[in-house]
């Protein structure tokens, strides 16, 4: 359809060869002369007052160069907004979760640092802990923060339309409770930082950050140094998924230990530290009441959420707001009411994770829609088609849909899943005996923001340096944590300048060189940074045009850039090589530099964290997923042999990268649905390694994954592109849970779907059927 030379092609990623060769350097692969190794002492209690810390013996251990505690950071606290700064680099006064950072040591090697940790004596007064968010909100619950009474970290209450009237008019209303558990980001590269403090006030840090400019600001504030003196260099990132956004204790401690020791310090967490105490997804209890007409038309949602925020606020306000925004999409909901409490608990801090708050709400809403379809004898595909939003739709809360291919994604997913062949409603099957392996299919839809519009600085900036030999460097602060954005942004440069992908180099983010950027979160890079790159590339081309026009003796408007050539449209023999044009331009007159620049920010006002009114983004993606499940009725084990993703991504800038995002979303979603769970009991972490935690292996994921891209050419995103890496994980859970119902007739409203829960649900159903039969006889 499109006549692009580079975009839309299945091009291998530009950083693939160095990564496959093992020569790509991640933070832990770096070392500096004289470098020390840091280790962090963590709290053995979920809640305790720190009475005294004695570091004397640790400091005296040969090989130890620095020991730090909370007081070393003064009163510095950090957080998303001024009113939510409740995190400390090292605990002050109290510890609030198991594994919270209490002290840190830098020594000549890791073994010495570990030995020193054992020599630090901390006297605690153990306090009662609360690890359940509902209990945390009760009167008399242990309190985490003195200035946040009732353990309320975030409270949001809002509504649009007339929900009570809608329920009165509804033919059918049902209310259900859903629970989504505590899961991790699951990146394989543990958090790591290598810091070098140069007196009097210069910081250089290499840290694994998907959004490095959070930490850049954090460090400037924490250490009171100008931003020009904070040099954050971004090595390759071994996965982020939301767990490497901001500054964390590992980063602050590396810098403070370096400041104190005068030597570079590297801290690399162990996986056990990540699994026990690093940030994770918000567990959520969702109570959802929905009213429909008898044909399945949704009239209203009334939703109450209790989210487990852990011991700090993090980006929690955005999570709570997101859950509200996406109560309104992807189905038409004319009336909506929402109240959410994000409770502080004595657990590690909950933050954004691929889908940030939206998985949890869409799991509830899409499974409940399936329940309603079942109760009313409606077809699951048709009920979704009936309620699907469309281009030009405006939600009750004021979100504006400028492009929408939701219907096409439903059609595409149904076709690819061979739905009509495999789907039989549970009602038709329920009187047949369950075999050893019961099979079922399920479907669910999604929507997502294409670049979260948060408050504050929200624009991306790109600088393109065109070298005299016809190659180009793209300076961007948008990082690639594995999703392939570096490749996609380089493809945009290549497309506009008419050069090859391999002619474009994207150096790593370096805060003293690359432009400030909000970060790689909320699915913003391809669409938002993409537009900035497009503007910058056009700017660079504009600077080349006068010389091209002169050399080709043609009007600038008639000149095209393609295939490493610059030529007159309609007269391809009137051409010169791009590299000849750049050489000539650079030497023109007394010489010049070709530097294109572009900035682009979200065009909608910032999210309203109070009321949720207005847009969450300038563009929204839509999608549908279909799952095929097999349930072993003897063991309760659920497997997903086949899954389809059909996604309206606007335009597939690189279909190979898009497929990778879709498949990765399935992996994260299947893990969340069936396998993964952080389990703590009596203040102990029962899942301290990846095997116990349940990160899926190749045996746990669908053998067959089908990825369909529906292109709607959005008016906002770069070249019409919308997001394609997070929305795709939003509907994985409900598609699987709906398929499980279709297989065995039970609803799983409590994640993960463990074999125990499946067997119990089957037993309960049998007992209920027996009781009903006896009651009738």
């Amino acid at each position: 359809m499109s006549d692009y030379a580079v975009l839309g092609k299945r091009l291998p990623r530009v950083d693939g060869p160095v990564k496959a060769a093992g020569s790509a350097r991640f933070t832990d692969d770096l070392s500096l002369p004289g470098m020390l190794h840091g280790k962090i002492l963590r709290s053995p209690h979920p809640h305790a007052r720190i009475l005294r810390i004695d570091t004397t013996r640790a400091e005296q251990l040969p090989g130890v160069r620095a020991v730090i505690v909370g007081e070393d950071f003064g009163d510095y606290r950090y957080g998303l907004r001024a009113d939510t700064r409740d995190e400390y680099p090292l605990a002050r006064g109290k510890v609030r979760y198991l594994g919270e950072e209490v002290a840190a040591v830098a020594a000549v090697d890791e073994d010495t640092a570990l030995e020193a940790l054992e020599l630090i004596r901390v006297d605690y007064e153990v306090l009662p802990a609360v690890t359940d968010p509902e209990e945390a909100l009760l009167e008399g619950a242990p309190q985490l923060h003195d200035d946040k009474p009732g353990n309320i970290s975030v409270h949001m209450k809002t509504g649009f339309g007339d929900v009570d009237e809608a329920f009165r008019q509804a033919d059918y209303v049902r209310e259900d409770r859903f629970y989504s558990q505590s899961v991790l980001h699951g990146f394989l590269e543990p958090n790591a930082a290598l810091a070098h403090w140069e007196a009097p006030n210069r910081i250089t840090i290499w840290a694994s950050k998907q959004s490095p400019y959070f930490l850049y600001r954090n460090l400037s504030n924490c250490f009171n140094v100008p931003l020009s003196n904070v040099r954050l260099i971004q090595p390759y990132i071994g996965g982020g998924f939301g767990g490497k956004n901001g500054g964390y204790p590992v980063d602050f401690c590396a810098v403070m230990l370096s400041k104190k020791s005068g030597r570079p310090v590297k801290i690399v967490l162990t996986m056990e530290e990540v699994l026990s105490s690093h940030r994770r997804r918000h567990p959520m209890i969702v109570r959802l009441k929905t009213g429909v007409r008898k044909d399945g038309t949704i009239l209203a949602h009334d939703c109450r959420i209790i989210a487990d925020g852990g011991a700090g606020t993090g980006v929690g306000p955005s999570t709570i707001a997101n859950a509200f925004y996406f109560l309104n999409l992807p189905y038409v909901v004319p009336n909506v009411r929402y109240e959410a409490f994000r409770a502080y608990t004595n657990r590690p801090i909950s933050v954004a994770q691929r889908g940030n708050g939206i998985q949890q709400i869409r799991y509830a809403a899409d499974v409940q829609l399936e329940m309603i379809a079942h109760d009313l004898g409606l077809d699951p595909v048709r009920i979704r088609q009936k309620n699907a939003v469309y281009t030009g739709y405006r939600t009750a809360s004021g979100m504006n849909i400028h492009s929408c291919g939701l219907q096409e994604t439903i059609t595409g997913a149904v076709r690819a899943a061979e739905w009509d062949t495999h789907y039989r409603p549970w009602r038709e099957k329920e009187n047949e005996p369950l075999g050893r392996i019961a099979t079922g299919v399920g479907i669910a839809c999604n929507s997502f923001q294409s670049g979260a519009r948060l408050t504050g600085h929200n624009c991306c900036t790109a600088v393109i340096k065109v070298h005299e030999d016809g190659t180009a460097s793209l300076l961007t602060g948008s990082t690639d944590s594995g999703q392939g954005s570096e490749t996609v942004l380089a493809m945009i440069v290549a497309e506009v300048l008419g050069i090859r992908l391999e002619d474009v180099f994207v150096p790593q983010t370096d805060s003293t060189v690359t432009p400030v950027d909000p970060g790689s979160f909320g699915s913003r890079v391809s669409s938002t940074a993409g537009n900035a790159v497009l503007i910058a590339a056009r700017d660079a081309r504009q600077q080349l045009l006068p010389v091209a026009a002169e050399l080709l003796k043609a009007a600038p408007e008639a000149i095209e850039f393609r295939d490493c050539k610059v030529f007159v449209r309609g007269a391809p023999d009137k051409a010169l090589r791009f590299r000849d044009l750049t050489r000539q331009t650079v030497a023109w007159g007394s010489g010049t530099s070709i530097i294109g620049q572009g900035s682009w920010g979200q065009t909608v006002p910032p999210m309203n964290f109070e009321t949720g009114e207005g847009d969450a983004s300038g563009a929204y993606s839509f999608g549908t997923q279909a799952a095929w499940v097999e349930v072993d009725t003897r063991t309760g084990r659920v497997t997903v042999p086949r899954m389809v993703v059909a996604h309206d991504l606007g335009f597939a800038l690189n279909p190979l990268a898009v497929e990778g995002q879709h498949e990765g979303s399935i992996a994260g979603g299947v893990g969340h649905t069936i396998y993964e769970h952080c389990v703590e009991e009596n203040g102990q972490n029962l899942t301290p390694n990846l095997t116990a935690y349940g990160l899926p292996t190749v045996y746990d994921l669908p053998r067959e994954m089908v990825s369909l891209s529906i292109e709607t050419i959005d008016p906002v995103g770069a070249f019409g592109a919308k997001e394609s890496g997070e929305g795709t994980q939003v509907s994985t859970i409900p598609a699987i849970v709906n398929a499980i119902h279709n297989a065995i007739g039970v609803w799983i409203t409590d994640l993960p779907v463990t074999p125990e829960k499946v067997l119990k649900a089957l037993r309960d159903k049998k007992a209920q059927a027996k009781a009903t039969a006896e009651g009738q006889s």
Binding site: R10, P12, R13, D15, G16, P17, V18, K19, A20, A21, G22, S23, A24, R25, F26, D28, D29, H185, G186, F187, L188, E189, P190, Y236, I237, G238, G239, G240, F241, V268, T270, M271, E272, S481, G482, Q483, G484, L656, A657, E659, G660, E663, G664, I666, A667, G668, N689, L690, T691, L695, T697, V698, Y699, L701, P702, M705
Partner: protein, 156 residues
Amino acid sequence: MAMQQMQLKVNGTLHTVMEQPHRTLLEVLREELGFTGTKRACRVGDCGACTVIIDGKAVLSCLTLAVEVQGREIITIEALGDGDRPDPLQRSFVDCGAVQCGFCTPGMVMSAKALLDENPHPDPDEVRRAIAGNLCRCTGYAKIVEAIEDAATRLA
């Protein structure tokens, strides 16, 4: 703990190092010999990111003491190829989109290499078994399996 002299044959070259006997092969490869292509992730044998090949078999270097593998043939990712002259496996991983964040990639490639060296024509089940101990969060494994099958075809 007392240092001990060790001789390790890595990628065909004999290296003599002074090391404590409790040091793992992973630590010695990365910290003493500079083979940082072998990744340190879980350190307890769960994830496979540290996979190397010893005498033809894929081995977790985080669970292997360096002192134990003196005199054996140790192969790391660095021996396979580089950006200019990649091994067919590395080329297939890149071309098939099997690389995303890249942190699991060297370990995956080494597990695949051990498989293809022993069994040049594996069926899909054999490919999956070979990487069952290598975790990846980014890809869902589909393109990794495809890349290994693609490399087997290229090598045939």
